[in-house]
Symmetry: C2
Subunit: 224 residues, 2 copies
């Protein structure tokens, strides 16, 4: 959603005339900038992201880059939004397309693990990285945006668990927030074991932990 708001800003900035074509070129440039910035973040961290270095890499003048992002902070937020968009597309949307309740949670879990495996190519999840870099900098826009994204995610997982109660898959006294906490613990751990530690048992441990979580959430748990 933020993405489209930003696109509108670009559109408004375009001079009249060949609007559609100009807009598309502007959007393309913007995408190139954000995509290259995302790679840079993987290498030098969020604070290390420099508009000067980035301009050189995408072969724009500094002022050319400023036409798209008026500050380093705006650029950082653009990159955060790009990561969120990718997670929405690759993890959230497939889950929401799946049947409600336990099947949806299964897809959410599966796609999250896939995303984490893919993220290894981005050298660790950029949002986790931002979370650590801006840990104690209350009020910093990047920190606030990432905290907000994590809250959205937590709410999504809890809402899916609540739906599973409604569908009769999970027991009535299940606490959806507790479910979300444990769900996220399993996937965060997968990130460390799979991404950093290259642990060959990571997927197996994650899957067993998830089956155990589902099992104890069910209306009639199966035998251990």
């Amino acid at each position: 959603m933020r993405g489209s708001a930003d696109n509108q800003t670009v559109r408004e900035r375009q001079p009249g005339g060949d609007l559609a074509k100009g807009e598309s070129k502007g959007e393309q440039t913007r995408r190139t900038i954000v995509s290259r910035a995302l790679s840079l973040v993987s290498e030098v961290g969020w604070e290390g992201l420099s508009i000067g270095v980035l301009a050189e890499e995408v072969k724009l003048s500094k002022s050319g880059l400023f036409a798209h992002f008026k500050s380093k902070e705006a650029l950082q937020l653009g990159v955060v939004q790009e990561v969120i968009n990718r997670i929405t597309l690759n993890v959230v949307q497939p889950a929401l397309a799946a049947p409600r309740g336990e099947p949806r949670l299964r897809v959410l879990f599966e796609k999250e693990l896939e995303w984490i495996r893919g993220e290894a190519g981005l050298r660790g999840c950029p949002l986790q990285k931002a979370a650590l870099e801006y840990h104690n900098r209350l009020g910093h826009p990047v920190r606030e945006r990432v905290v907000h994204a994590f809250q959205d995610w937590r709410e999504l997982v809890a809402r899916c668990a609540k739906t599973a109660i409604g569908e009769g898959h999970f027991r009535d006294d299940l606490d959806p927030e507790q479910f979300a906490y444990e769900f996220d613990g399993i996937t965060m751990m997968y990130q460390q074991r799979q991404g950093l530690m290259r642990d060959r048992d990571a997927a197996d441990h994650a899957q067993r932990a998830f089956e155990s979580l589902l099992n104890r959430s069910r209306r009639s748990p199966r035998a251990r």
Copy 2:
């Protein structure tokens, strides 16, 4: 253990004569350097750690600092070791002093949560930060040291779970590695919820997840 090996290096480097006094001063300077470097890491990340900036802050010449750490890498490793020493002192040792089996795991969990609450002062766990910064830089000494520390930790948790089986607290068919995976997932999540998201329910969620883990690990699980 590395700490003492490093101290020995310092001792060997000291000229003869007033050895004890010289050694103590050298150690003191070293401690000041490492402690200030740890704060810097919290602010600028591991890659951002600069010997020049650090020398200014501890009021040493660059060559004075080099007498203690021959390279940026040696300094980074010194800081990593300092963090490991603190965890050993504040988390591992109290646990090992507790009775074997479930009581020891309880102390380990409790002290780990305390450490994470304290770590907020260090702006996020420096080891997690290093893990993300050096995620894909296979062979980088900082990465390898941190991966090694995480492996040691995982083995410690698994060993404690194994002891709990031996003590008759946990069931015989419990997989200690699976226990360690889930244990670490709960504490990692606490780090995010408590440290970053300032979630007031974080401790409650962590505790309930831990009790559930203990419960399903026990020889005779209590009622849900």
